[in-house]
Symmetry: C2
Subunit: 304 residues, 2 copies
Amino acid sequence: MSAKTNAPLLLCFDDELPSARRLAQAANMAVAPIERHRFPDGEIKLRLPTTLPAQVVILRSLNDPNEKLLELLLLAQTARSLGARHLTLVAPYLAYMRQDIAFLPGEAISQRIVGSFLAGLFDAVITVDPHLHRVATLQQALPATDAVALSAAPLLSDWIAAHRPQALLIGPDEEAAQWVAMAAARHGFDHAVCHKLRHGDRSVVVALPALAVRGRQVVLLDDVVSTGHTVARAAQQLLAAGAASVDVAVTHALFSGDALQLMQSAGIGEIWSTDCIAHQSNVVSMAGTLAAALTHLQDRIFSI
Amino acid sequence: MSAKTNAPLLLCFDDELPSARRLAQAANMAVAPIERHRFPDGEIKLRLPTTLPAQVVILRSLNDPNEKLLELLLLAQTARSLGARHLTLVAPYLAYMRQDIAFLPGEAISQRIVGSFLAGLFDAVITVDPHLHRVATLQQALPATDAVALSAAPLLSDWIAAHRPQALLIGPDEEAAQWVAMAAARHGFDHAVCHKLRHGDRSVVVALPALAVRGRQVVLLDDVVSTGHTVARAAQQLLAAGAASVDVAVTHALFSGDALQLMQSAGIGEIWSTDCIAHQSNVVSMAGTLAAALTHLQDRIFSI
């Protein structure tokens, strides 16, 4: 094979072409879109480039995940039949990582099932800030796969340092403690976490940390914001306690339904997110971080 | 184990509870609904009965298939972790059976991929009138599984005999020839098929068969109607050629978008379907046929 056909190729869907181009440029790879047709009955047909190199990388952020997971099944199997021998999934947002236990007997442990499904399709998976609680590593959720978990904390911390140099970083719940501490350490920010009690998808009670917030520029920092109820509730209480301003910095802008409005009407000023999920609030690109991980992975594969 | 815990259990989703109850009654089985919660971010959580017998049957008709296929993954794996040892999928409508070849190089052969996916989850699959063209048997599409393909042609033929005893049965395309002949033979109906040229999902040209239709009560008979364009076009031409009436009898009432309106405004009188896909046009229940196949399958499993 020529050097050209050996070069890995990045495949993406139309709706992620802008972020795929940023990633391809940073990783010095070629990018090709996947043709996708949706029949009137809801079935999907995919068409890939007819000649694939041995190494194929697929970019797919797994917000709104169900149909995308089925597409990944079609895509991965077809890529292999067209010559791909090593498949890497770059999923800046990885779905179903929060359902890691049967809270009630009989519940599906979706993290384990979806993780094994993806591990069966891909040789490697690269993601950013996966929401892991009760499992320690991404490798446990994705057995028998090269699983790489990157973090957006450093780049979000840099962004905050540039825009709120005196920020007080607050995580909306204890789960975020370690991650907030990491972001804070990079620029010496003060930091703390709230205590959260959840009564349902949209009903939460937030207790502020025992630390003076009066006059402070608070930045609420989280790995994922879905309905926005938790950060909205935290912001209201912080402002009531005298905070000078409350902004939000988040890796994954899921922002389901009216999340954005809810946050804005709670008095939140700026909302900053990474491009892990495409959204108007994106200010930080993960392309460089993802590209570095891809290059590292490829070097390792080539060296075997 | 007691006889009771050995008895197979039928699991179903809320939206298919009526047809599940009909099937359970016909097969003399207990039925239990699956709890399903949809999170605001689109993720789904399933909860099954905590104690499952060794034999579990799942009813899921796979119209609008993508999310349902992901649910079947969660469901099958969870059922096994709760004690099920033999899983049967009853999918009165089986999706993705038409994409059985790469029409253009690089296309996903979705039938093979989805078939293997289901075969990996279930020990047996029972369906009705799967739309197979270039593969001869359902077993080829579902390798390593007990695959049972039933037909609604006899029951649809009986319905037509009761309501249009002098019917002329016409299939809208050559693919339906064998199936229409089978339905016609049961009651000695005259029959023929049209010649169809397709130019896109919604653009079709239909050539009528060379046979007198003037004054005849025509019933267009097909295994599946999706957009309704083909039967609507055929009906218009049959009425223009002097047919006294045109009705439609179909196994799978997919009826995407405005299919029903389109068929009605083409001059079609009655539209009759089976309950393989729940729809207001359902007049024929497949419960008895499906139950007989289930019982036969269980007898075979028990006898091993």
